[in-house]
């Protein structure tokens, strides 16, 4: 047990360092960043915002990590969010209770996930194409449910899921941390995680070893659909309305990025859900820097791209190898004697 905790800590060290750096950047642009007080019956502060606003990405990346571990990808999660939000909103508008709406939305998400799973596992369509179908069609489905409008609702139970609090903590934070812990525990304390990894590494041989890869694949996509549905309900509840056009728009890309920042390979195999969740928080911290810095919005995407590029470069195998070599060569790294004299730059040549 102690050994595995140590292993986990070693696995997520890079993500923790990057997260600390991203939070430090927040403090630099806004010194009161960590200040939290209790206002209007809820915790109120920037760090709470990061945890709360990162909830949709965090929920998506739980499912996405599992899908990517099987060497797949799920592009449809943003659209599934819109469908689930629209389902929940239309159910409460029709007079059903919040619990019925939640179950209805989750069931819709499960159906969407199973659809993807069947396309990938049974019909053997490549995951990126199979899920692209729902990514494109899903928003249309959501618009059919809302009839093209922003479907607003006032059901207090449903609103509490997105904008409410539990013991002063925003509900969305509680939901993603609990679900993340549960799934991480479920895949690591059973053989499930290993089976998923084996499919990602070599599906044929894992099937020959007796793993029912088809059922497992469908289940993995189904879980991704469920996570997306939950995120969709939270996003709709947060604004008290289902916005079929904009809910979860481009969020599938943030979720994939979170998984990648979490150090998981897009080629499948070994994965860590906790690292992905840290990845989601890193992305949200970067968003927070942009909002707090007060820079004109024209810079938003450029700043985000530069910071993300920096993070990915630091994590790249080449840089970690160089870092390893630097450390191995001792405190005073010697210049490489075998290399010829330094190359002349074009400026020197012209002189």
């Amino acid at each position: 047990m102690a050994g595995s905790t140590q292993g986990l800590l070693k696995r997520i060290t890079p993500q923790l360092i990057i997260l600390a750096a991203a939070l430090l950047l927040n403090v630099i642009v806004f010194p009161d960043f960590f200040h939290v007080d209790f206002r209007n019956g809820r915790l109120f502060g920037n760090i709470i915002d990061v945890l709360n606003r990162g909830a949709p990405t965090a929920l998506l990346c739980i499912g996405m990590t599992l899908v990517i571990a099987t060497r797949g990808i799920d592009l449809s999660v943003g659209a599934v969010m819109a469908i689930a939000g629209a389902t929940a909103a239309s159910l409460v508008v029709d007079g059903h209770g919040w619990f019925t709406a939640l179950i209805g939305a989750l069931a819709t998400g499960a159906i969407c996930g199973a659809w993807n799973g069947v396309l990938v596992a049974v019909l053997r369509i490549q995951p990126i194409v199979a899920t692209l179908v729902l990514m494109v069609a899903g928003r249309g489905v959501a618009q059919l449910i809302t009839e093209g409008t922003i479907l607003t609702f006032l059901n207090p139970g449903l609103i509490r899921l997105g904008a409410g609090t539990i013991l002063g903590i925003p509900t969305a934070i509680v939901i993603w941390i609990c679900l993340g812990a549960f799934v991480a525990f479920a895949v690591r304390r059973t053989a499930l995680g290993m089976l998923i990894e084996s499919i990602g590494i070599n599906e044929a041989s894992s099937r020959l070893a007796g793993i029912n890869s088809r059922v497992l694949l469908v289940c993995v996509y189904l879980v991704s659909g469920l996570c997306a549905a939950l995120a969709g309900v939270i996003v709709a509840a947060d604004i008290k309305g289902a916005d079929a056009n904009n809910a979860g728009l481009w969020l599938e890309l943030d979720a994939i990025l979170a998984v990648v920042i979490g150090g998981n390979s897009l080629l499948g195999g070994r994965f860590s859900i906790i690292a992905s969740l840290l990845g989601a928080m890193i992305i949200q911290s970067v968003n927070s820097v942009i909002l707090l810095s007060g820079m004109p919005p024209e810079f938003n995407l450029v700043i985000k791209a530069v910071l993300i590029l920096g993070i990915l470069v630091i994590q790249s195998p080449k840089v970690s190898y160089l870092w390893y070599m630097l450390r191995a060569s001792g405190p005073q790294p010697q210049p490489d004697r075998k290399s010829p004299r330094p190359r002349t730059t074009p400026e020197e040549k012209t002189q």
Binding site: F44, G148, A163, I239, L291, N300
Partner: protein
């Protein structure tokens, strides 16, 4: 032959009395249904056509110019009397407009203009986005009446023309009033959820007590921001004045509840003035002005917003 001509002349002479418009067929190429406002524009256009007894042929382009061009060509082939287009982009219309002109079919542009020679279309009915921003700014100048006011701004999608023009108009209006200052400005992508997220960060970065007013480039962002203000324990409309643009039903509801102070209407009724111009042109060849500006009406708490809400809520917003 002679009797026939007399009869025909009689029919033509009687036609205006019997409702000349009853025989009009007009094609309408709509962009799609990307927003509530767009859906309302479609509903109002259909209503306007029905009231006038016009047979409206409706084509939804699903955000694609090629679909619009196809629709216009099919309208020309069907020999419609006039064409309404809400163009999805500004360029690439010359050829198809030329075809309509050759077929003697007048074209009226709705809501957006195009980069084409002016003689290729009858007129364009649009709102003036800069003017809308101007009205919003002027309202705030009058409202604070010389008191100091720190404003936060929720911009539309970065680089979009409504965002640029509404920002410009507002800045023009508050220029020269040193008591008004925009302290933070960030994009909320015209959506409720981003409006809420960005307002949350404004409230923390500036401190809720230091913000006097919010200017949002559309109502959806303002509605999201209202929720953020409430969650921070402040009273929207009282502690922070809120002015935005579009006048969608939910904004009227917020005005009626005292959670918002003003909104400027972007009317979904572009078809009314467009059909007026087209009917006049078809009846006796009256050339309208090349640009018909729709009214940018200011709604405040003084108006009967509950009634406007009831009227607007079924338009498809």
């Amino acid at each position: 032959m002679n009797i026939k001509t007399t009869l025909l002349a009689g029919v033509v002479a009687l036609a205006p009395v019997a409702g000349f418009a009853a025989d009009l067929t007009i094609g309408f190429s709509q962009i799609g249904s990307e927003s509530g406002w767009r859906a309302a524009e479609t509903t109002v256009t259909k209503q306007q056509a029905e009231e006038r007894g016009i047979d409206l042929k409706f084509a939804d382009a699903q955000q694609k110019q090629e679909n619009q061009i196809k629709a216009i060509r099919s309208f020309i082939a069907q020999g419609v009397d006039g064409i309404l287009i809400a163009p999805v982009v500004a360029t690439g219309w010359d050829e198809v407009l030329e075809e309509a002109k050759d077929a003697d079919i007048p074209v009226v542009l709705l809501d957006r203009t195009v980069d084409a020679p002016e003689d290729l279309y009858l007129t364009a009915v649009t709102s003036d986005l800069v003017h809308e921003g101007n009205v919003a700014g002027q309202w705030l100048v009058d409202e604070v009446a010389g008191a100091d006011c720190r404003i936060v701004e929720l911009q539309g999608t970065t680089g979009s023309s409504p965002a640029i023009d509404r920002k410009t108009g507002f800045e023009q209006a508050i220029k020269g009033h040193d008591n008004l200052e925009i302290v933070r400005s960030q994009t909320g992508d015209f959506t409720r959820s981003q409006g809420k997220v960005v307002m949350e960060s404004f409230l923390k970065a500036e401190g809720g007590a230091n913000i006097c007013a919010l200017y949002a480039h559309n109502d959806d962002m303002a509605v999201g921001a209202i929720q953020a203000i409430k969650e921070a324990g402040l009273k929207p409309g009282t502690d922070i004045k809120i002015v935005s643009i579009d006048a969608v039903p939910d904004a009227h509801l917020a005005l009626a509840n005292g959670e918002m102070n003003a909104t400027i209407e972007l009317t979904p009724n572009m078809a009314g003035p467009a059909l007026d111009a087209m009917e006049a042109y078809l009846a006796d060849g009256t050339m309208p002005a090349k640009w018909i500006q729709t009214e940018s009406k200011l709604y405040t708490a003084k108006d009967d917003n509950q009634a406007v809400y009831e009227m607007k809520k079924d338009l498809g917003y």
